[in-house]
């Protein structure tokens, strides 16, 4: 093969090659040095940085949410608990064909547009790779079974159990317990840094009612867990753990039995009932109807359910007991009477003649009594029993609005009661100063006349009515209605000490006659087991919102008077004070009376229908002294 030409200079070729080989060796050594320097850079100079990165990769500090405290009634009946909720999550990275997967899931569980919208939103928000995205909560057992059976063809789909709040009696306690729902960015923004840290693992936040007011106590202290995870986010082992401190359980003063009785007694009517034990300021029942299902709100209420509540003319989301403002009507009269007696404007002997109307001097306007022909000669006792308007027109006129304001404030009317709930409505207890400030107009005598029978500017909440009644029942001792057992709240109000303490008993006697005498306005409350002191009220509804559309029948219905009633029993040693409001219920005695009666029965009678007054809560303020001043 070799041609002579190629044989030419082997030594020369070898020399060239040797030089090139040397260059090659040097090149190899240089490049090796480059690699070596690179490794020194990464492994020595940048070592700490990469160690941190590596640890951040694998070690995660997870906040562990504390279990929320349970809520019970006074007898330990569970009202709010934590139940495991099974929800569906998808690890998108594992799913592969996501559209196909959702299609398959759709055939197994119900997925509405809400679920899918939320899923899309969560899927595209910032998250670690392999972090599961929640798709649907509240799986039924059947749905869980269907998923599990088909698990093999559902890559990336998993079912997880999380404790969520459950209200065992649903709608019954809706307005007093309130509800929790998902904590949001706004909630966290409103917190201090410490609080934010404490909520690091928490998904739920008390939104209203007791859940909101006692959020701190129910929530507890966050725990921490340091875990090692792999790139798929699977926890491989726990490196360090500091367990959470569970939220404290909350025992309420509410009585399941009384609450249920109040709820049932109202029936389908719109209204509110608040019952207070004057001996220890316990709230025994707190009902506003219609109510709502708090369980719907916990994991996020659907648009459909929410708008159904919002658009309901009966306003089921509105807490009538706490925030509804109503003219008290004639239920204001016992308090007016106490004010008149103590101010010396009237006494039990003084009488007036009632021709069926009241007229101010040099003013032709006649303020009408509800009884067209009048009650004739009337003293305070008869004025309470028969609810004579004219007597109180006269009494109010002589008291003057500022003294009325002073006395009625001590009964917490038109004042915050200080109950352990947020967003309590104040109502309105008018005064000259108030009218000037609120309406920009001077006070007229006519305003006083209207206020004297609980109309005009006066607006109170059912809770205030019950509180005032409890104060009356405990002879002026201050009552701050309390929902949490063992909790003591204070308000700025002082005990009301009358110049003549006998007037308490005499007023009680008059109120007992409301239920026990022939002309009394609430005779239906009379019973054989215990004596009831009561006062009915009927409040005129003078306006309907102009922007609301009602059909004619409804207009007529909603213009009917509100029925009110206050009562306490047993009259000689009160253990329950009740305020009842029935919207458009027309007659206080006949509509609200039976409601109050059933509530009292539930508290005062045992299962056999015998009088068996439960003792006040141990340790509660005033539990040792049952709130009565010894005459």
């Amino acid at each position: 093969m070799r041609r002579p030409l190629t044989l030419k200079d082997h030594h020369h070729e070898q020399r060239i090659f040797s030089v090139r080989l040397m260059v090659g060796v040097i090149l190899v050594l240089l490049l090796t040095l480059v690699l070596f320097s690179r490794m020194i850079w990464l492994q020595i100079i940048e070592h700490n940085r990469y160690t941190t990165l590596s640890d951040n990769n694998r070690i995660q500090t997870q906040a562990v949410a504390p279990p929320r405290g349970l809520i019970t009634d006074r007898d330990g009946v569970i009202l709010a608990e934590n139940r495991p909720d099974f929800s569906l999550e998808v690890v998108v990275e594992q799913a592969g064909d996501l559209e196909g997967l959702l299609g398959k899931l759709r055939k197994l569980v119900t997925l509405d547009d809400d679920d899918l919208d939320q899923f899309e939103k969560r899927r595209h928000s910032a998250r670690r790779p392999w972090e599961p995205v929640p798709l649907r909560g509240r799986l039924t057992e059947e749905e869980i079974a269907r998923i599990v059976v088909n698990q093999y063809r559902l890559p990336g789909v998993r079912i997880v159990a999380d404790p969520i709040r459950h209200y065992t009696h649903g709608i019954l306690f809706s307005h007093v317990l309130g509800y929790v729902n998902r904590i949001n960015a706004q909630d966290l923004d409103d917190m201090s840094l410490d609080q934010q840290r404490n909520y690091a693992g928490t998904h739920f936040y008390g939104r209203s009612g007791v859940e909101r007011f006692y959020e701190d106590r129910l929530h507890g202290q966050v725990g921490y867990r340091q875990v090692e995870t792999n790139a798929r986010g699977r926890i491989l082992r726990v490196l360090d753990e500091q367990p959470p401190v569970p939220g404290r359980d909350l025992r309420l003063t509410l009585s399941m039995k009384v609450q249920q009785a109040a709820y049932d007694a109202l029936g389908d009517r719109r209204g509110a009932v608040v019952a207070i034990d004057p001996r220890d300021s316990s709230v025994l029942a707190f009902v506003s109807r219609p109510g709502f299902d708090p369980n719907l709100f916990v994991t996020g209420i659907s648009h459909k359910d929410y708008s159904a509540y919002r658009e309901d003319h009966d306003k089921p989301l509105f807490n009538r007991a706490l925030q509804g403002r109503y003219p008290p009507g004639s239920t204001i009269k016992p308090f007016m009477g106490i004010a008149g007696l103590d101010a010396g404007v009237t006494n039990w002997q003084r009488t007036i003649f009632d021709p069926g109307y009241y007229q101010l001097e040099d003013n032709p306007h006649r303020y009408r009594d509800w009884k067209r022909w009048g009650h004739g000669r009337v003293d305070l006792h008869k004025a309470i029993v028969q609810s004579c308007d004219t007597y109180f027109y006269d009494l109010g006129f002589h008291l003057g609005i500022d003294r009325i304001h002073q006395y009625l404030s001590e009964f917490s009317l038109g004042q915050p009661t200080g109950i352990d709930l947020n967003n309590e409505s104040t109502g309105i207890l008018p005064s000259k100063k108030w009218k000037k400030a609120a309406r920009g107009r001077p006070w007229f005598h006519g305003d006083t006349i209207n206020a004297s029978i609980g109309q005009g500017f006066v607006l109170v909440t059912p809770l205030q009515l019950a509180t005032a009644t409890a104060i009356l029942a405990s002879h002026g001792k201050q009552i701050t209605p309390t929902l949490a057992a063992g909790e003591v709240h204070h308000t700025e109000r002082h005990d009301l000490v009358l110049k003549d303490a006998d007037n308490w008993q005499k007023m009680t006697d008059a109120m007992v006659d409301v239920t026990e005498t022939l002309h009394g306005t609430a005779q239906n409350m009379r019973n054989d087991q215990y004596r009831v002191a009561a006062k009915s009220g009927t409040a005129q509804v003078f306006s309907v919102g102009q922007d609301e559309t009602y059909n004619e029948k409804e207009i007529a219905d909603r213009l009917l008077d509100h029925a009110l009633l206050i009562a306490f029993a047993p009259a000689d040693d009160p253990a329950i004070a009740v305020g009842v409001l029935v919207e458009n219920g027309r007659h206080g005695g006949s509509t609200a009376g039976p409601v109050a009666h059933q509530v009292m029965d539930a508290w005062l009678l045992n299962d056999k229908g015998e009088l068996d007054v439960p003792p006040p809560l141990a340790g509660a303020p005033g539990a040792d002294n049952n709130g009565k001043e010894t005459p």
Binding site: L31, L35, L42, H47
Partner: protein
């Protein structure tokens, strides 16, 4: 005195630590073989950890090593002049197969690299060219006087360019570049003038941006982008390189210990048993492990260069130098890529990474080196 005995006494023949007689009889080079076996053993150790303590992976790798060593043994028996004789035929055949693969190849992962063999599965014709191209160019220059004239350089560039182009069309840019490099190394060793080398370097530097915009596929362009700025997409394209740098860096000097590397064992490091196995080694054995590995590679490369220096003919010299240099380029490209010095191109770490036909090809090339070294004659010229 037999030829073999004489050879053993030759200066430069540094006997074997194993069994000089046996190794020589089998045409094996004991120092090279020892270094290779140690490297393989180290590779298996790392692989056991990278594969999640899976013995199955290790056994399959052992099987490949066994096949590779067998091929090496066979290749070593064939004297270099046979290679020289067969080089043009193998090259031409390989070129035809490369055309065939573009016409009727099997597609996998978006590239057409495989040729089905009925009853045997499939193989990559590019593997043949890893040996075919340097052999062909070495053959070409062994027929000419050196240093090469310009005409010879042009023809050599064509011999290198054609297969590289065909492989680049599959597209498999990494292999194309490496095969081109193996041919160009021959050109360099043959004494390509420094002036031409300088011109070539200038041309490459100016052509690189044009290549980027007009020649590269999108996925290749993405790889370059990712290389230039891995943090731009840390969860996507940049993930590999960030995680591998993290693995290496967190290893430190001493490493986290065998089977203790969190990056690979917790699945943060993708491709941990194949292309990115160096990151596992660095994480678990630290800078010390890297040094040991580099030394093993340098021993192999050094022995290769020694063999080529000792070779008696131009063909053998050029081929041995090219195969050795190519082996080092594999090492450099892989380590550079895993440590973030070079863009990610699919090049395994020789004899450590799990998988593929590349192990067999690689050991075949060492078989050639051994053949060159053990078939020397008393008088060469």
């Amino acid at each position: 005195m037999s030829q073999r005995e004489f050879l053993r006494q030759m200066p430069g023949h540094t006997g074997s630590t194993l069994n000089p007689g046996l190794a020589s009889r089998l045409h094996l080079d004991a120092p090279l073989l020892t270094a290779l076996l140690m490297l393989m053993l180290a590779g298996l150790t790392v692989l056991y950890s990278a594969g999640g303590e899976s013995m199955e992976l290790v056994w399959r790798q052992c099987l490949r090593f066994g096949a590779g060593l067998t091929v090496m043994l066979l290749v070593a028996q064939i004297p270099p002049r046979s290679y020289r004789f067969w080089a043009p035929f193998v090259y031409t055949g390989g070129l035809l197969l490369l055309v065939l693969v573009l016409v009727m190849g099997v597609e996998a992962k978006g590239a057409q690299r495989w040729l089905p063999i009925p009853g045997l599965g499939r193989f990559q014709p590019a593997e043949i060219m890893k040996l075919g191209v340097p052999a062909m160019v070495a053959w070409y220059f062994s027929e000419r006087t050196l240093p090469p004239r310009l005409m010879d350089v042009v023809i050599a560039l064509l011999l290198v360019g054609m297969p590289a182009m065909l492989i680049g069309l599959q597209p498999d840019l990494g292999t194309a570049i490496l095969i081109a490099a193996s041919g160009l190394v021959v050109l360099f060793m043959a004494g390509l003038s420094w002036r031409l080398i300088a011109i070539a370097i200038i041309l490459v530097v100016t052509a690189a941006p044009l290549m980027y915009y007009f020649v590269l596929h999108d996925y290749q362009r993405n790889r370059v982008d990712t290389f230039l700025n891995p943090e731009a997409d840390p969860r996507g394209a940049g993930w590999n390189i960030i995680q591998s740098k993290t693995a290496i860096g967190s290893g430190g000097v001493q490493g986290k210990g065998w089977l203790e590397g969190t990056q690979s064992r917790l699945d943060f490091l993708p491709e941990s048993s194949t292309d990115f196995i160096l990151a596992v080694l660095s994480e678990e054995f630290g800078l010390i492990g890297i040094c040991v590995l580099l030394i093993m590679y340098l021993v192999i490369v050094g022995r290769g260069f020694f063999i080529s220096w000792q070779a008696q003919e131009t063909f053998a010299r050029l081929l041995a130098a090219s195969l050795t240099m190519t082996f080092f380029i594999y090492v450099f490209v892989n380590m550079g890529m895993v440590s973030g010095l070079l863009p990610v191109v699919g090049v395994p770490l020789p004899l450590v990474s799990y998988g593929g036909t590349s192990i067999v090809t690689l050991l075949a090339s060492f078989g050639m080196l051994m053949s060159i070294h053990t078939h020397r004659r008393l008088i060469s010229y």
